[in-house]
Amino acid sequence: MAALLTMSLVGIGAIGAPWLAPYDPTAQLDLLTLKNQTPSWRHWLGTDAFARDVLSRVLFGARTSLWVATLSTAIAMITGAAWGALAASVSPRWTHTMMGAVDVLRSIPRLLLLLGAIVAFGVMSPTLLAVVLGLTSWTSISRLVFTKIRELDTRAFVEAARALGLSRPVILRRHLAPHLLAPLGAAGTLLLADLLAIESGLSFLGLGVKAPMPSWGNMVQDAVPFLQSAGWLAAIPCLLIMATVGSASAVATHVGAGSHALAPASIYS
């Protein structure tokens, strides 16, 4: 499908950026004459306000944005799945405590945690940003895993496995995990889309990836003062964000039709 094609193109662009980009994304080529140039043969997507080649920045920006989104998704998935699986496997009292903790964490607005992390850590590298985002997004995954495992636990094959004397970790790994792949895959793709959108939104609040490292979000934000004179500077990264998020979202919905627990993630919650 078109969505998968888009995502793979973006992925290739991101991974291959150091080889594909014609210029260094942070090199300011000629401050006075090359500022805000429209697309031309030498610069396929033009230059930005600091006389940097936009195509190169877009490629490296894809790298940064996708790195943040992928890493945070991975962290969220791993933490969430582990917590959910654990909560479904221990004694009822611990289950209540663990899922109660999830409820508490879920109620804390993400924005506060982000703001807090920013102020506490000061400057955040993309990796640290990804960690913070990941650690604030795992609650919905854990609920998903928890509910699903609980459901599966009532099924016959699990009872059979238990009767056979298999230990819980083995049951989890061999019998339950395959059933979780589809919903987790869908949830993960959706979370990736959401986190990518969040990363770009953070630049507006001054909390995202910092200059001069390019990310699609901060490229859009930097281009806002020049919307009239150099509109493509904002339009290109914006359209790329939309295309990537949209296709990830489409893929996820297609794969995960039937998963009610796909919670929309945003900057606030």
């Binding site: 506060l112 703001l115 295309a243 998020v245 009610h260």
Partner: protein, 327 residues
């Protein structure tokens, strides 16, 4: 679980949330370099002696545990304190911001539900009709757009481009000062349209996603086809049997969006100059205004947990299926 136990559990949970949030925000702000007075240091501001005096007055030179204890004690008594930036009562400022935010996010949510229901129903009912696909794609595109781009776009096109709507703010100051209450009401409504539409479009996709899933299960079901074959009007059918199962989904969505509802949609608030909770929080955090941040967090988490409880109870009653699978 019986109703009473459930309510008790949820109230306990609410207290836990509020306490955790308070301690967390206090700790984070305390750990952050710089304090309320440092923000204007680079531009001059007060002399070092004056700064030291103010810090002493506020007890900022005490150890962390002492400060936290004092703070929690005051909150326990219901005293939310005074803002560090302008010494205004935190309770007044926060409640003011909360009502403004609820007006905006509430309207936005209504619009999102309407929008999402519409598209979701269309997609569920007639998933291969070009209009439902187009609308679905458009909604996803809007959802994928960075929020501030969407806000600026709507501001430029809907407000500036057509001239029908104001460029932001909650009301026209002149009408606010000289107008009749009715005029003021209409004026606020007029100012509400574009920011609420922004929110509605942005959230509509999420709602429609949930909606579509829920509806797919009922619309395709046999009983629906039987009813239509028997001659029941599809419209009535949709209302009665299609929408009823959607109500829990909608309630679930509202539940998930509660932190945003109470906490404010920062980006939209800042672009449209709508002075709500979101921008209050961002401003107070940047200014290290500890009482304000704490007060805002208390109010937000209280509002969220109480309404979450209400929704849970409502869900419990609305969806008969849920009653079977007790917790």
């Amino acid at each position: 679980m019986t109703g009473g136990w459930r309510v008790g559990y949820r109230l306990g949970h609410a207290c836990a949330v509020i306490a955790t949030t308070l301690i967390l925000s206090f700790a984070l702000l305390h750990a952050a370099p710089g304090d309320a007075l440092a923000a204007d240091t680079a531009q001059g501001g007060r002399s070092p002696a004056a700064r030291a005096e103010i810090r002493r007055q506020r007890g900022l030179d005490q150890p962390f545990a002492v400060q936290l204890a004092h703070y929690l004690g005051r909150i326990g008594h219901g005293d939310l304190g005074r803002s560090y930036t302008d010494q205004r009562s935190v309770r007044v400022a926060v409640m003011e911001a909360l009502t403004r935010t609820l007006l905006l996010t509430g309207t936005g949510l209504l619009g999102a539900i309407a929008c999402g229901l519409l598209v979701g129903i269309l997609q569920g009912w007639r998933s291969d009709w070009w209009l439902s696909r187009a609308l679905g794609a458009a909604l996803t595109a809007v959802y994928a757009m960075p929020e501030f781009v969407l806000a600026l776009l709507l501001l430029s096109v809907l407000a500036y481009g057509t001239g029908w709507f104001p460029m932001g703010g909650m009301y026209d100051p002149l009408i606010w000062v000289t107008g009749t209450p009715m005029e003021r009401l209409l004026d606020t409504g007029h100012h509400l349209v574009v920011p609420a539409v922004t929110l509605a479009l942005g959230w509509g996709a999420a709602v429609s996603r949930h909606q579509r899933v829920a509806l797919l299960e009922t619309v395709g079901a046999d009983f629906m086809r039987t009813a239509v074959a028997k001659g029941v009007s599809p419209f009535r059918l949709l209302l009665r049997h299609g929408l009823r199962p959607s109500l829990p989904t909608v309630a679930a969505v509202i539940g998930l969006m509660l932190p945003v509802l109470a906490g404010g949609a920062v980006v939209v608030e800042m672009v449209f100059g709508w002075p709500g909770m979101g921008s209050l929080l961002v401003r107070a955090t940047a200014a290290r205004d500890v009482p304000m941040v704490g007060g805002a967090m208390v109010v937000i988490t209280t509002a969220v947990t109480l309404s979450s409880l209400a929704i849970d109870l409502a869900l419990h009653r609305l969806d008969p299926r849920q009653r079977v699978h007790a917790r």
